[in-house]
Symmetry: C2
Subunit: 219 residues, 2 copies
């Protein structure tokens, strides 16, 4: 009879949705993802081991393997959750009833804010391990869904004839995403040591993208 030390649910090891003390956790998969996201936010990626994670959640070392093939599969799920968070955040912006240009600006700021708020998770979302494999289709699909928000924004601009005729929505979105990713990474790691604020250079980048628009005269 294992698990005889039944304690009331005060600690981090509780079982979330179904918080009875049962042999079966009841919600282990999601709990593992959430706990992992929490750990890497606090301690970084190196701070996450499956053993400590299992301890903290209150299950045995092998339990996670019934929900994830291996550690990489867990990381893929954490990264996927990150893209979901980002997408809902961006959706709130994109679906607003404001001018497209304003929505674009806020979507840019939102992206960088997310990267700044969850640096390790953001790193994970672009990790080589998760993209150089064909085992994480779900994760990769979520990522591209996220990207598609920006494409759609530019397509709407194009439809409303706010985009210069020679500009292509997809190509603009790709370049914007690359720029955002570079800005997020380089500022997060502190490579822009020469005094400049992230806001300043973001506004600068945004202005350059807006030069592809019609009728937006410079400041």
């Amino acid at each position: 009879m294992p698990n005889t030390t039944e304690s009331p649910n005060t600690s981090l090891t509780d079982k979330k949705a179904s918080n009875k003390d049962t042999y079966h956790h009841g919600n282990l998969r999601e709990t593992l993802i959430e706990a992992s996201a929490h750990i890497i936010k606090i301690q970084g990626l190196e701070g996450l081991s499956l053993r400590k994670l299992a301890d903290q959640v209150g299950v045995s070392r092998a339990a996670p393997y019934h929900h994830f093939k291996d550690k990489n599969a867990l990381l893929a799920a954490v990264a996927e959750a990150g893209f979901e968070t980002l997408r809902t955040q961006l959706n709130n912006v994109v679906d607003q009833d404001k001018p497209l240009l304003i929505r674009l600006r806020e979507a840019v700021k939102g992206y960088l804010a997310f990267a700044h708020q969850y640096p390790t998770q953001y790193d994970l979302m672009f990790s080589h391990k998760l993209w150089d494999s064909d085992q994480f289709d779900d994760f990769q699909r979520h990522a591209k869904d996220c990207f598609r928000l920006y494409v759609r924004l530019f397509e709407q601009l194009k439809q409303q004839q706010q985009l210069k005729p020679e500009e292509d929505a997809l190509r603009l979105a790709q370049l914007l995403w690359a720029t955002l990713h570079g800005l997020a990474k380089l500022t997060e790691e502190g490579l822009f040591s020469v005094a400049i604020s992230i806001n300043e250079i973001t506004d600068y980048a945004l202005n350059r993208f807006e030069s592809s628009l019609i009728g937006v005269d410079k400041k």
Copy 2:
């Protein structure tokens, strides 16, 4: 400079400069860096363990610790070598006797070519572990030296009054670096699945940067 094409050495376990079979290796530090760069290029970062590395180089497992404080210090040295390789490659371009604009284009292509040729090492050069620590000053200095090449390029453009007066050389260089980093990463991981070539989007990005110049009329 572990990267500048393969050395004529055939054996992986040889002792490079002093290839006699002595108790002291004679050139262990550099050999470790070169062997590490080789391993991560072939097998990725996870393929590199200090034990296998020591075996391959022909020393005991503890020997590397007399040259590097820990594994991270070795990785920092490998990343630093990467920035050195990149810098010499870029220097060859920047010091040419061509119009500044051409040199800029080639410096951009050269950057992306390097990232594509040594993907894992490039990843390492921007790894969180090496930037979130104050123990790798040498490495970080080399990185910023590299970046300074781009700043100088824009400063020269400014001096020759080829830059629009409202443009700032440093800010332009920062934005260019961010764009390059984003392009390198996103294309390497295959995130731009929608058919578009790296060359196409690079040229597109370059054109946008050249709109900051004077006298370069759009195609």
